[in-house]
């Protein structure tokens, strides 16, 4: 038995017939071939699969594809715009917020949600917000700094931002 779903992923509408038991993460990875979203566990513990569903950070291994019918989904592949990196993508590079890079997509998507609701999170608020994400490589400190970098950049007035970019 297959069920027809329509999901908007990174602005593109997809209609597919899927098995009811198919997890959303496998729909993204195996059906749409968006492999930036990763699977690190089978108990919703690692956060490597985190995406935005209707703007909210969601573990895509914990949701069925059929539950995403009619939803708007954003994955790591969809946050850069017009060839320009998202401030979080830039921040992770500037602050060495990744090593193997496997956890990174999930952590960036979690941080996207955080920064939407909290423009200037403190170090502690960032650490708490990351509770659902593991990183085995970095010890987290540079991830915290990467997110702070993005928060600063996103809240900086436009004019100053351009000037800063010109000097980089």
């Amino acid at each position: 038995m297959s069920i027809k779903i329509t999901v908007t992923v990174n602005g593109v509408k997809h209609t597919d017939k899927v098995e009811p038991r198919l997890l959303l993460v496998h729909y993204l990875r195996d059906v749409l071939r968006l492999t930036g979203t990763h699977v690190g566990c089978d108990t919703s513990g690692c956060g490597a699969c985190t995406i935005l569903v209707n703007g909210k950070a969601t573990k895509s291994c914990t949701m069925l594809a059929v539950q995403a019918d009619k939803a708007k989904v954003t994955t790591i592949e969809g946050i850069a715009s017009n060839g320009e990196l998202h401030p979080l993508q830039e921040g992770f590079n500037q602050c060495h917020g990744l090593q193997c890079g496997f956890c990174t997509p999930g952590i960036i998507m979690t941080a996207c949600d955080l920064l939407k609701n909290n423009k200037k999170p403190s170090e502690e608020e960032i650490r708490v917000a990351l509770e659902g994400n593991f990183c085995r490589c970095t010890g987290y400190e540079n991830i915290v700094k990467s997110i702070q970098y993005a928060a600063d950049k996103m809240s900086a007035p436009k004019a100053r931002k351009t000037k800063k970019e010109a000097t980089v």
């Binding site: 790591i76 496997f102 509770e131 085995r136 987290y140 991830i143």
Partner: protein, 799 residues
């Protein structure tokens, strides 16, 4: 020797020594990393396993008939099908004290007779989709007869213990000793004014690289060629072991590719049964077969780390000088010998018993034991964390017992500074010769960063507000950059431990670098490019690093033991030297001078004492368009080198932890963590600091959170992220790090390696800090079993 705070090495003006941002980041932050599970091949099939739920059971029957009839099933194989295939080999032979070779029972690709640990593979089910493979695997019917099991290394050696392998008496793989004759050590120990004794468990850890292991193997019958995509740290070694030892297929017919790998920490060094089994299966089927571990499989299959039961005694004279060290360790190897399982408790552990101290008499005795548990092998640090934990716990405990300040006790026992050039290397009592060291300076720096005197004042005051403050020290050394092939060969290694590096200068002067080292988070694409750009005086944009493909790279030993920059980096430097030497001949011809008169600097070949010069790019072009060219010189500019180092490298440092213990609940809060590390010269301080952070997080994880727990039935009871406590972002303070530079005297970059130090130095510092907190509250506790949960600390305070 110089000391500096934070930034490592003296910069040359080129990219070496600078915190260059990583060139590999873009693909990962954009979701375009290429991990093995991202690959789907034409005609792909998927594998799932039938695995033992029992730690020890006789297999009475395996019925696959119902499963074979399930939709989508392509094939099912059991132990009987692969009975004639070899098992996966062990890469290091350790001998018994009496000279006999260690016991090496077969580790079959699928078990046929009995299962020896939970997760042992009984059948592989291959289907058109992974869902169909899972469905069919569930209908395979296995009849077992459960047998008694043993999970504890000491108990496994006792009379009457259940045997893991029928032909291994007392479950002992080998016994082994190193150091001075035991009689001499006993005599020195009985002359001691004070003996500190510590009996402890260095608990078993699960590496938990976040990318589950994944393999995808395919076979091209027309050309008789295999391709194995694998999440490994060392593709060439996997190819060698799989071809020559397991499957008996010619190496040149096999290509092993390991693109992006989501963390290894040791657990992806080893040649696992699934790699060989999938490669065997793809030939039977003529279709590619893919398997990705579920996390619950990773927990019971990926080789674990540590798991030592140890009694250690350290004797001191009345002045606090160490006179002897005596150690007895039972090392748990798990059910099968993993690729390097045998050398971890011996040559990576016993050989580190000198630590940073002048201990004159040392003897360590190790019994390595099979149990009904997951195999144990190298996990970040591999043996050296266990050695450091042993020594540094003894030092702090002895300081408490003798009422000597723990920093002062170390100063009294440190080996004096030596640079390995003007002063010789330091010959230890346990085989190794240290290359260079300045141990006093590292501890002094750490104490300064801590503000030691102020801390002790604050500690006295803290007891009044319900909290106990404690500080713990760890002054560590590690043997890295493994290592000289002749030395490891004489110690039982069945492989060489050199590295390969090739510099291919393209006609336009752009450079492609082929390295046998493998990056799974270390940032080689940046660090190695820095070295090449610096040495050739070209832009980093003109350098590309290629790794992880046996068809592209001449050879490789891979990445582990903090060896990539020291061994792999040096192989690259050797090739650069050859490029420059040949370039000088070409430049000399073009500039009408003698090659001896050509200097190379900043990307230009110049006739000494003149302004006649020619750029690197023009020399490269001439090498490939050799119209006007030296007579006896071959065209092209492409060199490779194999580098076999003269010695290990010996990074060292001082880690200091400050904790606060809640008197009511026993809860431990890590308040500060200070790391002063000496890695020799540093190529990229940002990347090195990142390595320290990650290592410290794992070491603190061992001290406070992590530990594999087996019950008496051999079940790993915390085999999920719901139950195994992984350190999270809010478990850590900001780390206070600094580096000091004592260059390695025996490689041209002067580098020592930085991958494991964090995990080696940090664990005892944290445990020592908790014990110090308890002593400051009047609880004279010798040991608390790791991880230091609130309950364990609270109980320790009740006695």
């Amino acid at each position: 020797m110089s000391t500096n705070n934070g930034n490592g090495t003296a910069a040359t003006g080129g990219p070496i020594g600078k915190s260059v941002k990583r060139v590999e980041d873009k693909r990962f932050t954009m979701g375009h990393g290429k991990f093995t599970d991202d690959i789907v091949l034409p005609g792909q099939t998927y594998a799932a396993f039938v695995r033992s739920q029992y730690a020890h059971a006789k297999i009475l029957s395996v019925d696959t008939s119902a499963a074979k009839a399930m939709p989508g099933v392509v094939a099912i194989y059991t132990g009987a099908d692969v009975a004639a295939v070899n098992g996966v080999p062990c890469g290091w032979q350790v001998n018994f004290k009496n000279g006999n070779a260690m016991k090496e029972p077969k580790h079959p690709l699928l078990v046929a007779d009995k299962t020896r640990h939970v997760g042992d593979a009984i059948a592989i089910v291959i289907a058109e989709s992974i869902e169909e493979a899972f469905d069919a695997a569930q209908t395979v019917n296995v009849e077992y007869e459960e047998l008694p099991c043993v999970v504890d290394a000491f108990k496994a050696t006792q009379p009457g213990a259940p045997l893991v392998h029928d032909d291994v008496p007392n479950n002992i793989c080998y016994d082994w000793a190193l150091g001075n004759p035991i009689e001499e050590v006993n005599a020195a120990m009985s002359s001691a004014a004070h003996v500190t004794t510590l009996e402890f468990i260095n608990q078993r850890l699960v590496p938990n690289a976040i990318e589950p292991r994944c393999y995808n193997s395919s076979y091209d019958a027309i050309n008789d060629k295999y391709t194995l995509y694998t999440s490994t740290q060392n593709p060439h070694v996997i190819r060698l072991l799989m071809c020559a030892f397991v499957l008996g297929i010619p190496e040149h017919k096999v290509r092993v590719i390991s693109y992006d790998v989501g963390g290894g920490f040791g657990s992806k060094i080893f040649h696992y049964t699934e790699e060989a089994l999938l490669t065997w299966c793809t030939k039977q089927l003529g279709r590619p077969v893919k398997w990705t571990a579920e996390r619950k499989e990773s927990f019971v299959l990926d080789a674990h780390g540590r798991d030592h039961i140890t009694k250690a005694e350290m004797g001191f004279d009345s002045g606090g000088k160490i006179v002897a060290l005596r150690v007895k360790t039972y090392a748990n190897l798990g059910a099968y010998l993993s690729t390097f399982g045998s050398c971890v408790p011996t040559y990576l552990h016993g050989t580190l018993m000198q630590g940073l101290y002048t201990t004159p008499k040392i003897n360590i005795d190790v019994t390595a034991v099979f149990t009904h548990t997951t195999a144990v092998d190298a996990y970040r640090g591999a043996g050296r964390p266990e050695a450091t934990y042993l020594l540094e716990r003894l030092m702090d405990l002895a300081a408490h017992e003798m009422k000597i300040d723990p920093a002062e006790l170390r100063f009294r026992n440190f080996i004096p500074p030596f640079d390995g050039v003007n002063q010789p290397g330091y010959q230890t009592q346990v085989a190794l010769q240290y290359d260079s060291g300045n141990y006093h300076a590292a501890l002094e720096k750490g104490l300064e960063m801590l503000g030691y005197e102020d801390f002790r004042k604050a500690q006295k005051e803290s007891a009044n507000n319900g909290k106990l403050l404690g500080v713990g020290f760890s002054t560590y050394i590690e043997a890295c950059g493994i290592a000289p092939s002749a030395v490891v060969g004489s110690l039982g290694a069945r492989a060489g431990l050199f590295e390969f590096g090739q510099i291919r200068v393209q006609p336009t002067g752009k450079v492609t670098v082929y390295t046998g080292a493998h990056s799974h988070g270390q940032g080689h694409e940046t660090t190695f490019a820095q070295v090449v750009a610096d040495k050739l005086g070209i832009s980093m944009d003109d350098v590309e690093i290629v790794h992880g493909d046996t068809e592209k790279i001449g050879f490789g030993m891979g990445t582990y033991g903090s060896r990539s920059i020291a061994v792999g980096g040096t192989a690259i430097v050797k090739s650069i030297e050859k490029v420059i030497e040949k370039g000088k001949k070409i430049a000399a011809h073009l500039l009408e001078a003698s090659a001896d008169d050509i200097d190379f600097a900043n990307g230009n070949f110049t006739v000494k004492g003149t302004d006649k010069s020619i750029a690197f790019g023009n020399v490269a072009l001439t090498a490939y368009v050799p119209h006007n060219y030296p007579k006896d010189l071959e065209p092209g500019l492409d060199f490779s080198s194999f580098y076999d180092p003269a010695n290990f490298t010996y990074p060292f440092g001082c880690h200091i932890a400050v904790v606060e213990v809640d008197k009511e609940t026993g809860k431990v809060a890590l308040k500060r963590f200070i790391a002063v590390d000496d890695f020799g010269n540093i190529i990229n301080p940002m990347i090195v600091e990142g390595q320290v952070h990650g290592g410290v997080a794992q070491g603190v994880g061992q001290a406070l959170f992590e530990g594999a727990e087996y019950n008496e039935h051999g079940q790993l009871v915390n085999a999920s992220y719901m139950d195994y406590c992984m350190p999270r972002a809010d478990d850590f303070p900001i780390f206070e790090t600094a580096t000091q530079v004592t260059p390695c005297p025996h490689n041209p970059l002067g580098v020592k390696g930085a991958g494991e130090a964090g995990a080696i130095g940090s664990t005892p510092a944290v445990v020592n800090a908790v014990i110090d907190a308890l002593w400051s509250g009047g609880h004279e506790v010798k040991d608390i079993r790791m991880p230091l949960t609130s309950e364990r600390v609270w109980r320790a305070m009740q006695n």
